[in-house]
């Protein structure tokens, strides 16, 4: 008797779960669909009440207009360059710093680690005015180094790598030390290969944040050909005229689609990477 009630309840619960799951997926997907539909609509199809759901035709005139108005090719290239270099160096810095803090003998290493992690608490906006002045004095406005260098230091990565290093089996390193491997070799030959999950976690967080960075590039870049994608997108917002949602949404699709494509292609790895980092913490 009890079992029957229980399974009935479970089945109802299961149906409810599916309902909730469907609702969650719908909330996540609908805005993206709306964006894509709008990117194909003519101006008068957008500015109508009641709203028109489907565009009359899937022609690409809004995309053509967006591509003609701003150099999307440059934006894309700049985003790739700043992200690859920025996230790459950031990872390396995180690895070496964490290695130093965990495996090297040094009198102030706890202090150094504290200094590194404490930086997580310093919001970007607080240091932006002095940093801007410095970058301008260095003549780094409109350069890749100007976009990349101020955000290069690794705090979060160092933290995660340290947490991970502390859990590594000691036998591996002892073997390496007996082999007479230098610290440099020990890091890159022995530790890095067995740290893949943490590495991909840190890489992901760095890549996502570099790719989407907005405020800093907004300040240090003023030439359209040096802009990154999020920055370039805002150039499509018209002023002293009519906001053209169709063109703006076409631009938004151009910015989001590549990221979504990469995300869905690599989703298994990305998802496990994101959590690997978090759970170690």
């Amino acid at each position: 008797m009890a079992a029957i009630v229980d399974s009935g309840r479970r089945r109802a619960g299961k149906a409810g779960s599916y309902l909730w799951l469907a609702a969650a997926v719908a909330v996540m997907v609908l805005p993206l669909v709306w964006m894509i539909l709008a990117s194909f609509k003519e101006r008068d199809e957008i500015y109508t009440v009641p709203a028109q759901w489907l565009p009359a035709s899937f022609d690409l005139s809004n995309y053509a207009a967006a591509l003609a108005a701003v150099p999307f090719g440059n934006f894309f290239l700049n985003s790739v360059i700043t992200t690859v270099i920025g996230a790459g160096i950031k990872m390396a810095l995180g690895l070496t710093t964490a290695y130093a803090v965990v495996f090297l003998e040094f009198p102030f290493k706890k202090f150094i680690f504290g200094l590194t992690v404490f930086a997580l608490l310093v919001p970007q906006q607080i240091v932006i005015i002095p940093n801007y002045t410095l970058i301008a004095e260095l003549g780094w406005i409109n350069t890749y180094q100007g976009i990349i260098v101020p955000g290069l230091a690794s705090a979060f990565g160092t933290f995660l790598f340290r947490q991970h290093f502390l859990t590594l089996p000691v036998s591996i390193l002892e073997a390496a030390a007996l082999d007479g491997a230098s610290h440099w070799t020990r890091l890159w030959r022995f530790i890095v290969p067995i740290s893949a999950p943490t590495m991909s976690a840190v890489a992901l967080v760095s890549i996502v944040s570099e790719w989407n960075e907005y405020l800093w590039p907004l300040l240090v870049v003023d030439r359209a050909d040096m802009m990154t994608l999020p920055l370039g997108l805002t150039l499509l917002q018209n002023n002293d005229g009519v906001t053209n949602w169709g063109v703006l949404m076409a631009g938004t699709v151009l910015v989001t689609a590549p990221v979504l494509a990469v995300f869905f292609a690599l989703q298994r790895r990305i998802v496990s990477g994101l959590t690997a980092g978090a759970v170690t913490g």
């Binding site: 108005a69 102030f108 706890k110 002045t133 005229g241 009519v242 906001t243």
Partner: protein, 449 residues
């Protein structure tokens, strides 16, 4: 035993930290502004232009007002052909505010342009920061005919006996109406002459066409701009010189009139985002929008669009000007400045003024351009444009409290939005804005004058 590594500091480590921070503190003191003394603006007549050779290449920061990038590029091409000076056109932002933010933050001389967009609410701040050059000396040297500029538009940039910019993409608010709606309501094919007449017409519009008669705009650089029309038309003003005058009965009456339209008569509504889009979609019967939006509106609307002067108030016609001028940064070398001035002269000569104006919908800023053949063709093709140009005669210079005090426009916008969206008490909303603007004046302007 703590979770936080950083809390494991003992006394010795704290001392190390202190020493380290102390070291950086000395570093911190350098860079940034020099302390002490009051600000200085660039002085006129400091350079003898006769002995200067113009530079071969200059940079121009623009936001391409009214989607004018192609027009600007064409003008640059013509200039290069005529003078052999190269102009790098830089998109420094999507709107005036973004360009201004970037220009203000650009402290290093190597990073500032030779020519920059200076909108009506920004150029004054450039001036008090000492960032731009007074242009009268240069204009004289280059025999730059400034008398031909529309006087209101040119004198907008006049302060302490100097002109600090020249008019470029200048606009005024304009009354736009939907002719289909007008017909349905049985109204004559023209804009209402006065707000009183609008009050008589509005119920007919609401009744017959089923639309909101008037759509009002909101947001910075906009709400406090069109409100000039109602405020001035009732004899009020934001300020007189540096004194705020929003506590006068005229100013309160003006705000109450807008509230009456929105909350009592329900003949006007504040737009959700963009009053121009609402009007173009046929949601409102008429609206106040910039002349710079003219070509956009004509393109977007599925109906015939009429234009007219802004309605008069009891104290007569009142229309502000807006948009942007161009200024030359003070910190550049005289060679760069001279080259920039030559370009400025070229850009605003009769022919090019007409070219820019006819392709964007901005005002022809020169009288000779306004009356020239190019514009005559435009008027013939787009009669709506003629109204905008004619209205220019009735404009007046903006109140300093709005355009010269940092944050002035923003404070006024906040007050007006409270009044229009939340039916807030006009006198207390205005009082809050006034005291904030007065304080900003004390802090940011007074010591620099």
């Amino acid at each position: 035993m703590s979770v936080v590594p950083a809390t494991n500091l003992n006394r010795r480590r704290l001392l190390q930290l202190a020493a380290l921070l102390g070291g950086t503190a000395t570093l911190a003191a350098c860079g940034g502004p020099a302390v002490g003394g009051s600000g200085e603006t660039a002085q006129a007549g400091a350079t003898d232009w006769a002995g200067i050779t113009p530079a071969k290449e200059i940079t121009w920061w623009s936001n391409h007002p009214g989607a004018s990038k192609a027009v600007e590029e064409e003008l640059i091409k013509r200039f290069q052909a005529a003078e052999g000076i190269k102009v790098n056109l830089v998109t420094a932002g999507a709107n005036y505010d973004e360009v201004a933010q970037k220009f203000q933050a650009a402290s290093g001389a190597n990073n500032i342009p030779d020519l920059v967009i200076a909108s009506d609410v920004w150029w004054f701040r450039y001036m008090i920061n000492g960032q731009i050059l007074p242009l009268d000396g240069l204009a004289k040297h280059l025999e730059f005919n400034t008398d031909d500029f529309n006087k209101t538009l040119f004198d907008d940039y006049n302060f302490s006996g100097n002109h600090w910019a020249v008019p470029y993409a200048r606009s005024t608010p304009l009354f736009y109406y939907n002719k289909k709606v007008w017909q349905a309501a049985g109204l004559p094919d023209r804009a209402p002459k006065s707000w009183d007449e609008f009050d008589q017409w509005a119920p007919k519009i609401a009744a017959s066409a089923g639309v909101v008669p008037l759509g009002l705009g909101k947001g910075t650089s906009w709400a406090a701009w069109w409100f000039c029309n109602i405020l001035w038309g009732r004899g009020g003003a934001y300020s007189k010189d540096w004194t705020m005058t929003l506590d006068t009965p005229e100013a309160i009456e003006a705000a109450k009139y807008v509230q009456k339209l929105i909350f009592e008569d329900k003949t006007a509504a504040v737009t959700a985002k963009d009053q121009v889009a609402d009007f173009g979609a046929g949601l409102t019967g008429c609206t106040l929008a910039s002349t710079g939006s003219l070509s956009g509106i004509l393109k977007a609307a599925q109906f015939e669009v009429g234009t007219g002067f802004l309605p008069e108030g009891p104290k007569g016609q009142a229309c502000p000007t807006g948009g942007t001028g161009l200024a030359i940064p003070a910190k550049k070398s005289p060679e760069q400045q001279l080259a920039a001035a030559k370009f400025l002269k070229f850009l605003t000569n009769t022919e090019n003024t007409a070219y820019f104006s006819s392709n964007t919908g901005y005002m022809p800023v020169r009288t000779s351009a306004r009356d020239g053949a190019t514009m005559a063709q435009v008027y013939a093709k787009t009669p709506q444009f003629r109204t905008a140009v004619d209205q220019l005669q009735t404009t007046r210079v903006q109140d300093w409290g709005r355009v010269f005090v940092p944050g002035g426009d923003k404070e006024l916008t906040t007050a007006l939005e409270k009044i229009m969206l939340q039916q807030a008490d006009p006198s207390s909303s205005f009082a809050t804005a006034s005291s904030a603007i007065e304080k900003s004046f004390e802090q940011n302007v007074k010591s620099y004058l």
